[in-house]
Symmetry: D2
Subunit: 297 residues, 4 copies
């Protein structure tokens, strides 16, 4: 089928390639003239598509997506559908859908997992929106998803796709932290001489066999103790949103939060906490933590 | 090769079957006369094997394993090897190995993952002990492990096999808790109408694809909200040991511990904590948590 | 000085009493005719005060406060000041202050700690708002606060009073949880025969001496093991807000969150997590947690 | 009464001073000739005391205490009593008591809180051991404890004193972490302009009023943001033991553990965890955390 794609970066570009290989007619637009775009404006994109149109937005969440959706609201016609395939928050989806709905334009939010491997393996897709809109765009989803029975779900109403992706990423945080805790414990122990080889051996036959473990095999091939990797980690936002959502829902999520906090701490988030602890220890016990002491610890 | 197997329960029995299918000559013993045992005593087991012997112990950790290893120390000869395939703690391995070593008997500890599926898929094996003993028993390990490159590792010296298995299970706790937190968050949310189908869709193409997710698909097929499953969970000991080991090594393991604590809490472990909290709230604020209030919350 | 008080419940009523004892002229209003109110409407309250007026709002956060502040915006005059002494969220303060500011009306938010003991001991007060408004209402704060150097702070701009109170309550959650963990650990141990007496002994001379420990002494006097107290705890919202605020600020707050989650778990929040864990264990290992097993554990 | 004191460091020396001021006859010994000791050997100490003797051991836990108790076992007579006032683990107490008991020598373990302030304010004491031994040494405890009703408890049998002190310190960790989390959250927020003054104001009238808050007032007087204090904290062992004990007892202690882990993390304990997380992110998403990026974050 025919579709417009806005945003031809690594994710959007790979998706267009995969869709075209499957026979779809994709009209691509990007702000960057060197992106290999087919048209040079949103107006031109809309003009190049036959109504009822489907336009996939694959740009950064927040202002870029807000602005794109707003402009599409001006340019599109009743019966057209906007798909937000970026990393918007589920609450933003509701706002976008409501604004478009006033003009008779449909909206689907699509959480996408698979990273740089998706181009080849297919992307796991989670969709939020109405049954009718979902059915219309289904041929596109079918081409983007991996082979087989899994990899695509109509998770719920508008917002459900990004809510599911948020939860997916929260779980991913927890899993990576769990693997990290295991690796670090073995690395410090005298009992296990080769933590990376040990974890790699679990790729088959073990209860923890998983794609992340497959990736860990790659990552440790030339650096079994990961000494070249910095001991800091950034965050992408979804885990924070998941903890917030769970707080509101009354669901404790200590594992997801612990993973997030370990990353925040690696970037200095707990420094002032430690200053209080060390200042108090000095007050009551004369225990002053000297940096020298630490360095040689 | 020839080997003795002590303990013909679900795990030991399945292993014997898998080993015999692969051409090994296994002499089996179990305390239970109806176990299908080949001999009716440890003495008979030892007598039935040609020196140098290999004897695999597959009985519950603690006293049963202690007692079996002690008896084998009396019955075996220098050059023989004992393999502990049960769930002993890594510190116990060192004691067992030291006692056997005085009599010239070798020792390997073998952590086994794979559960009831191992009989068919093969077991993931983690081995601790000397290179020499490992090489001797390798044909057995080769037959028990799954097809392919992975599923077997010589993790380190004596204790390393069970240490690795302990860490493996700690990671497993964290992963299951992470999946649980995601499922529970979606189940309470209005955004995702089918949490089980959503999670199942991640089996292919997603970053969290894993064997546990495959199993969750089975588990939720006829009970998508898992309402028939009790909201309590037992523990098997390894996660507790892992947290203890990590505490000693100075490695924070909040994810593993959170998973353990959620299970302990489900069995009443936090009840007295909550009594203190509620008693204090009543003292300073007149906030008394009444059970009635809770019930209707 | 003269002031209007809206809300004559336990907190508001006690405050009026304390203020009148200190010579202030308080005009009280409450929706409830049996509250001992001085006037029977907001209009009458405003009419009874001389400009520039100070009106203290002491009603539940959310709609009651929103509605009261909105009505006061209609009734008051430029130069008047509204004080919100309830439990509003700091973000709501900004909205209230902005709406009142358009009409030239000042706004202070005041976090209040001290519970039922405040009537006698004085209340710890945390104020947010401009220096000018703070100075105007200072005589009132002086009368409400405890004797001595401490118990009153101008914490910051509008919202700062409730932000500080939110953090105060988050800390309170963490402290109560810490005491609870210690009590529960001693209660299960064979080493300490009288946990309540042990904790009470720390009221003097120990590093953990605190008012909460004084209250624990009261609470355990006739029930040393707190067996009459239900093992469930409610939450009042502030700890949840604090965790959310800290998440946004990138500050890890595992202690505050753990305290909150223990309460949420006591009300069933983790049930679905445990169902996933137990369902998965049954899938891979045949470990089914039976409720009978648990009961006799 | 008469007593021997072994170990005249900061704690032991201050205690001797306090005891002598209260009229006790103390014979002091220390390995250090410049400690102001009364005798120059354990033998001389024992010789200088009239039977039945009481000897207080105030030396570092572990080998120094083990060795001292062992020597006292050789030198003392049936009916004498050893008091261990150091920071031994409760399990060590049982070993020491058992060894001494074989020779008819009594044993009490005494947890001591109060830090450098104890000399003046008195020490909070927690005692483990038999009623008979406790009664014998009671005059000493009475002189060391603070004025008033609290500050001394006979917590349980041998080991109970150090178990109680261990729990006390675990609670102390949790409380300090809670204060730290609150301080750090306010410091990063735009709402509270003076976190130290805000926290100090809680010293009176608030639910979190506590001695630690009094100490924080001291600590922040000349450095309100604690910028001169290093963002690292050591640990003294007791919180680790408490988490281990609670794990065995099945009591979740997330708050105590979170406080401990924050300190371990500040000394690099989580570095390898973060390396795994960042390595995996690079594998699946091309998210590489660059140190430069972090530095400017």
């Amino acid at each position: 089928m025919q579709m417009g794609m806005i945003g031809l970066g690594r994710m959007g570009g790979n998706m267009v390639k995969r869709l075209r290989e499957d026979g779809h007619e994709i009209v691509g637009f990007d702000m960057n003239p060197e992106s290999g775009r087919d048209v040079d404006s949103l107006e031109a994109l809309v003009a190049a598509l036959e109504a009822p149109r489907v336009v996939w937005v694959m740009v950064p969440a927040g202002k870029p997506t807000d602005s794109t959706v707003e402009q599409l609201g001006e340019l599109l016609e009743p019966g057209d559908i906007v798909v937000d395939g970026g990393n918007s928050k589920y609450t933003e989806d509701r706002e976008h859908a409501a604004a478009l709905s006033e003009k008779g334009i449909g909206f689907l939010d699509c959480g996408v997992s698979g990273g740089v491997w998706g181009a080849e393996r297919g992307y796991a897709l989670m969709i939020g929106g109405s049954d009718k809109d979902y059915e219309t765009v289904l041929p596109i989803f079918q081409s983007l998803k991996p082979e087989g029975e899994y990899g695509l779900v109509h998770a719920g109403p508008v917002g459900g796709g990004h809510f599911a992706k948020m939860v997916h990423n929260g779980i991913e945080y927890g899993m990576m932290q769990a693997f990290g805790e295991g690796f670090a414990t073995m690395l410090r122990s005298e009992y296990v001489t080769n933590p990376a080889e040990t974890m790699t051996s679990w790729r088959t036959g073990s209860v923890v066999a998983s794609w992340l473990l497959d990736l860990l095999d790659n990552a440790t091939k030339n650096d079994p103790e990961l000494k070249s990797v910095p001991a800091v980690a950034n965050e992408s936002g979804e885990a924070k949103w998941m903890v917030e959502a769970a707080l509101e829902l009354g669901v404790p999520v200590p594992t997801t939060a612990a993973a997030l906090w370990q990353r925040q701490t690696s970037r200095g988030g707990a420094d002032d906490i430690l200053r209080v602890v060390t200042a108090l220890r000095a007050q009551f016990g004369g225990h002053v933590t000297k940096v020298d002491e630490i360095a040689t610890h």
